[in-house]
Symmetry: D2
Subunit: 235 residues, 4 copies
Amino acid sequence: MAERYPQGMHGAVAAGLTTLLGDGVQVRTATQQQPEHGLTTEVLDQTDVLTWWGHATHAGVDDAVVDRVHERVLGGMGLLVLHSGHFSKIFRRLMGTTCSLAWRNSADTELVWNVSPAHPITQGVPQPIVIDEQEMYGEFFDIPEPDELVFLSTFTGGEVFRSGCCWRRGKGKVFYFSPGDQDYPVYYHPDIQRVLANAVVWAAPTPAADFLPPSVDNQPAPRFSGSLLGRGGSR
Amino acid sequence: MAERYPQGMHGAVAAGLTTLLGDGVQVRTATQQQPEHGLTTEVLDQTDVLTWWGHATHAGVDDAVVDRVHERVLGGMGLLVLHSGHFSKIFRRLMGTTCSLAWRNSADTELVWNVSPAHPITQGVPQPIVIDEQEMYGEFFDIPEPDELVFLSTFTGGEVFRSGCCWRRGKGKVFYFSPGDQDYPVYYHPDIQRVLANAVVWAAPTPAADFLPPSVDNQPAPRFSGSLLGRGGSR
Amino acid sequence: MAERYPQGMHGAVAAGLTTLLGDGVQVRTATQQQPEHGLTTEVLDQTDVLTWWGHATHAGVDDAVVDRVHERVLGGMGLLVLHSGHFSKIFRRLMGTTCSLAWRNSADTELVWNVSPAHPITQGVPQPIVIDEQEMYGEFFDIPEPDELVFLSTFTGGEVFRSGCCWRRGKGKVFYFSPGDQDYPVYYHPDIQRVLANAVVWAAPTPAADFLPPSVDNQPAPRFSGSLLGRGGSR
Amino acid sequence: MAERYPQGMHGAVAAGLTTLLGDGVQVRTATQQQPEHGLTTEVLDQTDVLTWWGHATHAGVDDAVVDRVHERVLGGMGLLVLHSGHFSKIFRRLMGTTCSLAWRNSADTELVWNVSPAHPITQGVPQPIVIDEQEMYGEFFDIPEPDELVFLSTFTGGEVFRSGCCWRRGKGKVFYFSPGDQDYPVYYHPDIQRVLANAVVWAAPTPAADFLPPSVDNQPAPRFSGSLLGRGGSR
């Protein structure tokens, strides 16, 4: 992996976003080894969209950091969950399911098919995107039905996967995208970089976002006054 | 086709339903050549679930019959649309889109993957269903996002298709299922027959169905009386 | 109505969009009385988003114009359907259902509640929007389940209505919004004007839109060949 | 509450189900005060559908029991979450959101409107259901968009609430239904009892349910081999 991703996988993802979005974004990276995994309150307070990749060490992620990220997503921060991040604590917390799937690492070719042609995430990429070598992720993928299904992937082995899925949670947007693995140089693939850049723009919070998660509201007075149950309608 | 389906395709579909559902159903068939395509008011009045297969002669279907079937579906009758029925007048009317797709007839193997494991339509079949030879139907399939996506198909050529899709329309249920073609004996495949039998049961109307489509209701009186806009709530 | 809407209802809608969106849009109007209802091929070819209001004379709309608008929507044009436009030919064609509803014209107060707080259409308006007097539209509203439900309305009489609904159809986006009636000055209400302006921005086509509806694609060759990546399909 | 619900709220819910479903079900109750809240592994192993009501003491529910219920739901057990159960640990875990809402306890009349007329949960009740006195629950209700929205409630005060919502999670079904409060005798209301009985039937697992949550599946071999059907995967 060090050979394939000399700047790390986070470095490759960040480089793609910087190239494609230019001055429109400020890109920073954080790694699990940093204090609070680099996701301090100060950092999150300045973050509009967070990308999350992780693999073997999900269990080592601090629950307090997961709480903080969860709260920020529900308050309006966008979240992109990448590949093996399907098993991250934050993704499973947002989905409420096991997020389990089928897999096989045998250098299958992956084709990524666009099933939502006018969706902002699918703009500017061919039908299908071709990834020469990639780990296979297959169904059944245990997720809530996506609010918008945008990509479906097939593999040389005959498998299928819902590889690009959107959800709204609280005031935030979540996009899961499966292409990308430490064993293959997928994050240097120009079409994959385009999808990630599109998704960052799509997931950005509204300009008026206050980043407070929804909360209980004890409404002191009714909107209508003097209401009684009347004669009723037509039946 | 006469060799492959000596009783016609409608005969093969009917035989599978009769075998699997037994005394639970009364199965009748109708063909385009019959007066009113066999779908007279009397026949529809006795029909709980209608299956629809058609291929080259969609344009020859009488609009008055389509109106009648449409009204019956919105009133509660279930509808199963099969394979090339995606281009039928009734399906396009219910969907509101072109219902176009990609295709290739080169005897691909089709794998039908279950992405909704607890859905009644997917019970009793293996993961995946294997169809040795079949026409390829691929994305982009121009349909409204299904209310429930239950099957995804892959083909030897690498293509993918949303092959099992559910919608609710009015008081009725609609299921589209793509496996099945006049060039291949797919309707004799036991797993395909099982899916169709499951779908008939799923699409059946509620016991209290009146088969009247929803209609305008001029409600003569409010439910609440004496309502005025009061002080309003907490903001 | 001439007194309430001296520029016509189309004039009021257009004025609100012009005020709020400024140089970002070019606003034109068309009326049923014009040749081809003002919706010639030339006009539609220059239209990114179309708003549609109609009331008593839906049946008088030319089917050829409806075909043209339908095709343009499936090709990427946005469509806003307003109030009694629920019974327009174009809306019923896109929905596939009766689009019927309950109603009563007794000057109820309507409250429009935001149930999708981060949706671009709901930005910049209070919770709820208060409309002092309005015709009541109530459930059951016979529509396909919205892809995104953004507003729910209540009325002094106790009724409820799914008053703001989004669908994707083909490459286009459709928004139905019920507030607005010829008997009440709702289209001068600043919050309603804000919703309409937001919806125009939301429904705008992607920059790369070609406005061709999806079509059949006979793919000449498989993507995979010998379980290796082959020559690929038609593009 | 002891006066209003002499058998407890669980007793009232159980009595309604027993009356309406008869020999079709075996009804048992469990309370928070029991060891493991009455939800031991043995009990859950015999449970097809669980109803959950709770109010002030959600925080006192043991996480190990929540884990167990969560796993059982993902494995196929149905779950009905009632009223203030929106803040239960199990519901928030399954939703991934705050599940917060607006409320006011001022004996509003609640009208429960059916927006899915053919749904099994809405059969046999009037349009609308009228509840003379009830706590108000209002929007914004912070939940994932329901897979099926079946009831909307309005209140004398003018508020609205998505009061009947269905989700599929893993192999299980979840129904949230808001009517019902310790301060009002709502669980004796015959229409509310009918909805709960319908929902129990709807949420029941498939006959073949194994109650194992979805899990990772390392597929040893591709389905396709040399673009021909190979040995297939792990099953």
